[in-house]
């Protein structure tokens, strides 16, 4: 079965990609399978300068999910381009860069640099990271800020721009509309929900940063709802994510209105999950009587 999809002008072999922050820069997972099998790879967030992130512990398990507060640790955009991208260049799959920052200027600077790099085929604008003090989530919860940031980034980049939306909002369609008006070429949704867990032994939050982002199957119903809501308002391509673990989950996300999907937390559960989902997708589609991905997209819930 032909699994290829057109995602905002990019041609992907299949609709499956690892989600930003859950796959590093690909090197570790390349020990498990050939990254060329992936529809795309979204690399870890890049900021203007090197960041050391939050104190540890940074992760905690929760029922059918996990909290993380990595805090955008990364070597900075220049070192990423120098040290990480050459490795990825050897694979036959489009690389999406995830762009983060504390100020509009930093976002713009990072986006400009990455968009000029030949290995990078698209940008994902991370306006929804709940785990840093500045930037991140503010841009993702205020439609005006989101609009301005998206516009500013569009002005310095010709590569397709996916804006990654935060679920920590009263009305996600408002944000989706704002970034669409600002020129976004697509949407990524959802980022994590802000959560917290308390260690009863120490009587302190389990995550040193106190709060962290909730991901995994626990948030899947929220992701499906939000994607469906946004799909009713826009034709922009959507990369859906939030708790995907199986080919069945992928079908559910496509039915909700996603054009492609990203798999995050499940990579920790099973490092082979993306490859296994790609291998199983044709069977799963047949099980639900779909003869093609196109046919599925036509019946997507609306």
């Amino acid at each position: 079965m032909n699994l290829s999809v057109d995602l905002g002008g990019l041609q992907l072999k299949n609709p499956i990609m690892p989600a930003s922050g859950c796959f590093g820069f690909g090197k570790e997972f390349s020990q498990f399978y050939d990254l060329s099998e992936l529809g795309a790879v979204v690399i870890k967030a890049a900021t203007g300068e090197q960041r050391f992130g939050n104190p540890t512990p940074r992760v905690a398990e929760t029922p059918s999910g996990m909290l993380n507060a990595i805090g955008l640790q990364n070597p900075g955009v220049d070192k990423i381009m120098e040290q990480e991208l050459p490795f990825l260049d050897s694979y036959d799959t489009p690389i999406f860069a995830n762009v983060a920052g504390s100020t509009l200027e930093e976002y713009v600077q990072v986006a400009e640099k990455l968009s000029q790099h030949p290995t990078i085929k698209a940008l994902e604008l991370n306006i929804s990271c709940p785990n840093v003090k500045e930037g991140g989530i503010q841009f993702g919860t205020d439609p005006n800020l989101a609009y301005e940031l998206t516009r500013a980034v569009k002005q310095v980049s010709k590569k397709p721009l996916f804006v990654k939306l935060s679920p920590n909002v009263t009305d996600i369609t408002e944000l989706a509309r704002a970034v669409e008006e600002a020129g976004a070429d697509g949407l990524s949704m959802i980022n994590t929900l802000t959560g917290m867990a308390i260690d009863k032994q120490t009587r302190k939050p389990l995550i040193a940063n106190e709060t962290g982002g909730l991901s995994g199957p626990a948030i899947k119903p929220i992701a499906i709802r939000m994607i469906h809501q946004v799909r009713e308002q826009t034709d922009l391509p959507i990369i859906g994510m939030g708790g995907i673990c199986t080919a069945d989950d992928v079908i559910e996300f496509l039915l909700a209105g996603s054009n492609a999907v990203a798999v995050g937390t499940a990579n920790f559960h099973n490092p082979l999950v993306c490859k296994e989902i790609i291998d199983e997708l044709p069977e799963a589609l047949k099980r639900y009587k779909f003869t093609s991905l196109d046919e599925l997209r036509e019946v997507a819930v609306s």
């Binding site: 059918s64 993380n68 920790f268």
Partner: protein, 258 residues
């Protein structure tokens, strides 16, 4: 590094809340040295999204078996304790680099373990003892939590300490080390952060290798969950990938615990 279903050869209590599990499978052939660990999938389905890291306490390339020793702490270890012989568990490993010991011969070596920090030191002690004189100091909560004393005794001059004095020496492993006369050329330690920090400080003039714990996500170096500040170019190490064993002057633990 593999993801594989290993069969459970045995799974039994060896001390209070402490189990020894023997696993068998081809993944064992990839183990390079003591101190590496495995990352175990917990439960059925997707209710537990994070694996649990456990040190390889012993292994044999001949029998294709490895041993872990684990304490029942929370949901994951409780689940493990209920798995029966002949069933399978999903293992990711071997992970990390373990203890480099090829350069050590004819040395006075000290091995210090606390609680569930003791397991990785067992295979280490076995191997060290082939060419060195090994002393082991093992600390436990109290008499009912002591395990593997006799096994260590075969390969090392072993002292057991318990916090409450109910067995062996009374006090912490650092108290035992304080009273030691012999000169130590090299040391190895694994245990709670607070113990490691204390030993790092106490033996700051001696070279040593420390095995460090941190909550983990991926276990393979991709998620940056398990970083620790370090004296190197990058300013940090990833415990799962660069460790869990570090040279005592690479990571500074006694600062982070104060």
């Amino acid at each position: 590094m593999l993801q594989q279903d290993l069969s459970i050869v045995s799974n039994k209590v060896i001390a209070k809340d402490t189990y020894e599990m023997v696993l068998e499978g081809d993944l064992v052939q990839q183990i390079k040295r003591p101190g590496q660990f495995i990352h175990i999938k917990i439960g059925e389905g997707f209710s537990h999204m994070l694996r649990r890291p456990f040190s390889i306490a012993d292994y044999s390339l001949e029998t294709n078996q490895l041993v872990i020793i684990y304490k029942v702490i929370g949901e994951g270890s409780k689940w493990l304790s209920k798995q029966s012989d002949q069933s399978f568990i999903n293992v990711l490993g071997p992970l990390g680099n373990g203890f480099e010991i090829d350069h050590l011969a004819n040395q006075n070596v000290l091995v210090v373990g606390g609680g569930v920090g003791v397991p990785p030191l067992y295979a280490l002690t076995k191997q060290l003892s082939q060419r060195n004189d090994v002393k082991a100091v093992l600390g436990y909560q109290s008499s009912d939590s002591v395990f593997y004393e006799e096994k260590f005794n075969k390969y090392a001059n072993t002292t057991v300490a318990t916090n409450d004095g109910s067995y062996g020496e009374e006090g912490f492993v650092t108290d035992v080390i304080n009273q030691m006369q012999n000169q130590v050329d090299y040391y190895f330690a694994c245990g709670p952060l607070i113990m490691l920090g204390a030993i790092q400080l106490q033996l700051r003039d001696t070279q040593g290798l420390l095995s460090v714990e941190e909550r983990m996500g991926c276990g393979v170096g991709a998620c940056f969950a398990c970083v620790c500040e370090a004296d190197n170019e990058k300013g940090y190490v990833k415990i799962c990938q660069d460790g869990p064993v570090f040279h005592s002057n690479e990571v500074t633990l006694y600062e982070s615990i104060s």
